[in-house]
Symmetry: C2
Subunit: 456 residues, 2 copies
């Protein structure tokens, strides 16, 4: 009897002290359940192979909405609903054609794809001499009209000397995002951008460009990295080279689409919301496996994992598959607008939109004291290869929730291979490792479990 009493006393006394070991045991349960699961990978296969590419406003996007709804129901959400949002409908049109031609030589084909949201050249295509720009700063030395009648070739490789490839993407990405508008301001007829890729291959990488109201919208394509090197070398020898490209892409106006939302209702504070999400739309060239089928599947399967382990969250855990991240951001904007209109209370939001590679940590947007609290949990994640809790940032679809007072976070997978496949036809199901996909789901579920259990 005395032993039992002592044991009971010890239990009472040590409960507060040993919250940490309890968490670590729970993380181990989440990990084991996640790593032995095959359903998330199967769902990614269905999304990639049966639904396929799903650019906003396309038939694929419509199929994706239906699929996401089904997946959330299968994953055990209490309530699943579609949240309407208007999205732009841009179409690629016919397969793009491009070649370069030196004064003496025959035309040599180049592998290109139209940039997202770009205008087309029309059926005749566009032929012009080329000016190569190798550093963005070169533009500031040019006067208005100095690129008149030219095609501008932005040849800004991603800097390999950034450990985090997203840094290199951000830097060189200015050419794709703002190159066409800036070139038009200086009189150019069209733009060819070196693909934003960290490897050298034959696949052009698409991605959105942004026109300005003040200058004409001019056609713009991305060129595979190998062809960008080839074009640059040829230009050095033959400055009189002519470039031709033909695109029939077009912006067709807006159509109705949806975010897909699934709630696991909170047991203690159902009115306080924790959002976990990825984006459902993808570019049309690949299958949107890493970008961002993985994030959608992981978010839905965070709910499935809570269900499987009979973990009822205290706050409402909501998985959201956002529409139109790639070429408009309407899904994220709509979600934040509705939250504001309804006066929703958002505690935390986590997005997975950086690929399904081995997770390395999380970024956060939070006040200093919240950040310290989050970083105290880092040691719990070390046994699973997550060590970096210091980065700033979150996700494109959730960042507006900051206005609702939410702490924001982004999953940080290993970024070394991401820009090999990002926005290209190589972003397919086969490029995803089931273990790495599951590790991401685990990491997300673990962080949300800790936030739900201990608050911020």
């Amino acid at each position: 009897m005395r032993h039992i009493y002592t044991a009971f006393l010890l239990l009472v006394l040590t409960r507060g002290i040993y919250a940490q070991p309890g968490d670590s045991l729970m993380l181990d349960r989440l990990f084991r359940s996640c790593m032995t699961d095959t359903l998330a990978y199967h769902d990614l296969r269905l999304l990639c192979k049966d639904v396929g590419p799903r650019l906003s406003g396309s038939a694929g996007a419509e199929k994706a909405v239906a699929f996401a709804r089904e997946m959330l129901l299968r994953c055990g959400a209490d309530t699943v609903y579609l949240q309407p949002c208007r999205v732009p409908r841009w179409i690629r049109g016919e397969k793009e054609i491009a070649w370069m031609k030196t004064p003496q030589g025959a035309p040599q084909p180049l592998r290109v794809c139209a940039l997202g949201n770009a205008v087309g050249t029309g059926p005749q295509g566009l032929t012009a001499p080329v000016v190569e720009i190798r550093r963005w700063e070169e533009l500031s030395a040019l006067r208005t009209g100095s690129l008149k009648g030219r095609i501008v070739f932005f040849n800004l490789p991603m800097d390999p000397a950034h450990y985090h490839t997203f840094m290199a993407y951000g830097e060189s990405g200015i050419a794709r995002r703002s190159g066409p508008a800036e070139a038009a301001r200086l009189g150019a007829l069209g733009v060819v951008v070196r693909s934003l890729a960290s490897n050298t291959d034959d696949h052009p990488h698409t991605g959105v460009t942004q026109y300005l109201d003040s200058v004409p919208a001019i056609p713009a394509v991305a060129l595979s990295t190998r062809d960008a090197d080839r074009l640059s070398q040829t230009l050095a020898l033959e400055p009189g080279l002519q470039l031709y490209f033909r695109t029939t892409c077009a912006m067709l106006g807006e159509v109705e689409s949806y975010n897909v939302v699934g709630d696991l209702r909170g047991s203690a504070h159902p009115e306080r919301i924790i959002t976990v999400g990825g984006h459902l739309d993808s570019w049309d060239l690949g299958e949107g496996a890493h970008d961002d089928g993985a994030g959608c599947v992981q978010s839905a399967h965070v709910l499935a994992l809570f269900r499987r382990l009979s973990l009822r969250p205290q706050h409402t855990l909501r998985a959201v598959m956002f529409m139109n991240e790639e070429n408009g951001g309407r899904g994220g904007a709509t979600y934040a607008e509705v939250a504001k209109r309804k006066g929703e209370e958002h505690l935390f939001a986590l997005e997975s939109d950086a690929g399904a590679f081995s997770p390395r940590g999380f970024t956060f947007e939070a006040r200093a004291e919240q950040r310290y609290r989050l970083q105290r949990w880092a040691s719990l994640f070390r046994p699973y290869g997550l060590y970096d809790f210091e980065g700033q940032g979150s996700g494109a679809d959730i960042h507006l929730l900051k206005e609702r007072g939410a702490v924001l976070s982004g999953l940080c997978p290993d970024s070394q291979r991401y820009f090999d496949v990002h926005h290209a036809e190589t972003d397919v199901f086969e490029a995803v490792s089931p273990r790495e996909l599951n590790l991401g789901t685990f990491a997300m579920a673990a962080l949300l479990y800790l936030v739900d259990t201990h608050g911020l």
Copy 2:
């Protein structure tokens, strides 16, 4: 004048204190040089595509020796030489054939490959009923002779709930390593082992098995994971199922081969040696890209990197391409024997033989105080994604150098994808990311720079 004097005094006073910032700047130089290099990846292409598979004693291994010598010379080694070692010559023979046949059904083909060093069935092949073993412990309940006339099917999947896949490989690997010998002891005619793979696909994974002198050597093959699942399911329904397999592999005796060694002579202590290496031989099914072409190329390019940055090591930095790691370990044994015979002084040895994925850290075999010193450097590696300096172990080719007093270390890449391709025909050049390969070279060079500069 007074300012100059103060500056000089400050410089003198702070040199000791600021060794750390100097190191971090040097690591940054190593990193930048490594990440902008394309030659290491090119060398891996040559080794995989031009040399190709290179099992000990094969023509491929001979080509590999010549290639490694050339590579080390190109990388700037002062002295390059071949170190003779005798190796076993095992051949796979004709393409393996296997099928299963239920009493009523037609034979269904199975994808198998002979285990390394195994005896063949002979041209007739082997047909027998099957006993499935799902846990190694089941064997201990069986009496001698109880598997008489049977083929034993070891169906031990790698446990997905190990974060470090090498743990799962070690556990389930007992079936491949010791299964044929144990099954023979109990009277079995042959063995089929589930491939040691962390994914589910159609590629059998080979690897060495070890016979015992006390029991007959019986034929043994590995079965693809998908076919292992199929065989297991079929057996559950049809216990009377017959299995057939045919292998013509054979051990042909010993031949002469070589380790390939390249020295960068130490400026202050040329007699003290720091070894960095990988193994040059590979299994015959793929191209030995991750296992271990990468380790060889990285080791050679550590020397190239020192040369490129005009870093002359204080100790002799020696890159070694070991022969016969896969099916004999003779290269490693010879290297240690020669070191002993010559009375060489070995300070440190580092092996890269765990794939060319993003490096996560290093393992060590060292005394406690040396380990603490090594772990103090961990923070220098954090900006490059290496955080784990706590694991025990080193590499199969260098572990005997412990007797020479050397501190040992192994590069630890992310292990999630390694056993998808390990020892299978999928271990090809295309499975390696150039960035991840270079990150490994950088990490190795950085650790060796610190060891060389600060000692242990």
